[in-house]
Amino acid sequence: MALYSEKVMDHFRNPRNVGVIEDANGIGEVGNAKCGDIMKMYLKIEDDIIKDVKFETFGCGSAIASSSMATELIKGKPVSEAMKLTNKAVTEALDGLPAYKLHCSVLAEEAIQSALDDYYKRKGIESRE
């Protein structure tokens, strides 16, 4: 049995939306190098739509695959939908992760939420509610 699903390996080998958005209006970074995982998300939001999203990740195979999948799940979607992204959705879209790797999908969710927080902060809205 392989360590990861085909889906995970596909997103790990060919990560979608890798890189930086120079004029991003929402940036989030979570994790720390001490624990071995850092994810950084860049959002370009226009008219409440995620026009573009890119990521940079330092981490294991499932961290890279989770970042890639999370960007795919929110790209082109309204902000309101992106705000509802959960780690469960990321995991399911990847056809599952080993139990001890679930924290990677949590990190992906947190990275997106952190970038959205940053977007709202820049807009001068403290709370998203």
């Binding site: 990560p15 190098a33 001490k34 071995g36 850092i38 330092f58 294991c60 195979g61 001890y100 790797k101």
Partner: protein, 394 residues
Amino acid sequence: MIYADNAATTKMSEAAIKEMVAVNENTFGNPSTLYSIGQSAKEVLEKARQSVASVIGAEPNEIYFTSGGSEADNQAIVSAAVNGRRNGRMHIVSTAFEHHAVLNTLERLKKEGFDITLLDVHENGIVIPSEVEEAIRDDTCLVTVMFANNEIGTIQPIGEIGEICRRKGVPFHTDAVQAMGHIKVDVNELNVDMLSASAHKFHGPKGVGFLYARKGTRLTNLIEGGEQERGKRAGTENVPGIAAMAVALEEAAGKMDEYSAHLTPIRDRIIAGLSRIPHSALNGDAVRRLPGNINFCFEGIEGESLLLLLDDKGIQASSGSACTSGSLDPSHVLLAIGRVHDVAHGSLRLSIGEDITEEDADLMVDSVSEVVEYLRSFSPVWRDLMSGKSQFIL
């Protein structure tokens, strides 16, 4: 495919496989029985014991066959602890980067009231003998120091430590799992009282190993039952495995000089090649290391993704990152030689085997260089290092 994880396990040699099959087919009897097929199995067993003993300069009755290196480590340490407790000596000296078979056994003894001193292994991954001497107390019942480290391959000054222990009258055990069959091991030259070894690290089968215990060493049973192994290790002997181990060890010992002469320059070629990767560092002493061991840290990347991408390129290797260990912390060995967490996550161990060629070596260097560069290209850690937001460690 290039298999570069020989420190994890090795492929059985053809001679060892042949021996294992032959014993299974022809000498399947139980060595404890009196009829001829049982007695033939007993002969096979004792021949193997003699062969293993002669390779390490021991007497046959000082060899106890076990299920592998971990069992031998456990039995050696527990035996010394039982003897120590009997004499009111409850202090053990070891090192911070032992295999978990040793460390976790010591941890258990600590809970039972033993005092454990774990010596520093310094930046080069080598114990300083005078520090062993200073650590020995009146109540020390055991010194246990591994022969060669399983992750970074550094070879310890076992002879000097053995001499100190002999002079101080303290029993000395060494976990020689990585050394056996790769570098010369002679229990008398080195003043070793107990030694552990495992067959699958030198092209023998898995699930078999041995404990050497110098005559006069009082052993405690881990497994109670029949009178096998002179009453010190119960259970019907794994005769085919033991016979195959003896064949593999003789073979490895016979080819040791030739293999070492072949492997050492290739190892150094790989080390030189990987050193050209910016912000990388060799882990452990460059010279006093096993002929097949290469271990590096690459700043800004994580080890598991490195391994997966190398696997895609047909290279099988290992890492000391947390993600590959299943725990939150990276390798205790890398931490023991002073690598910080951030850097230890980006480690790679290549343990090459005898059939490696210079072309393989160059291919590995190229592949590792490519993958490291690729992973760095989208690593936020690397970006911060390059932009000066954080400081390079390597």
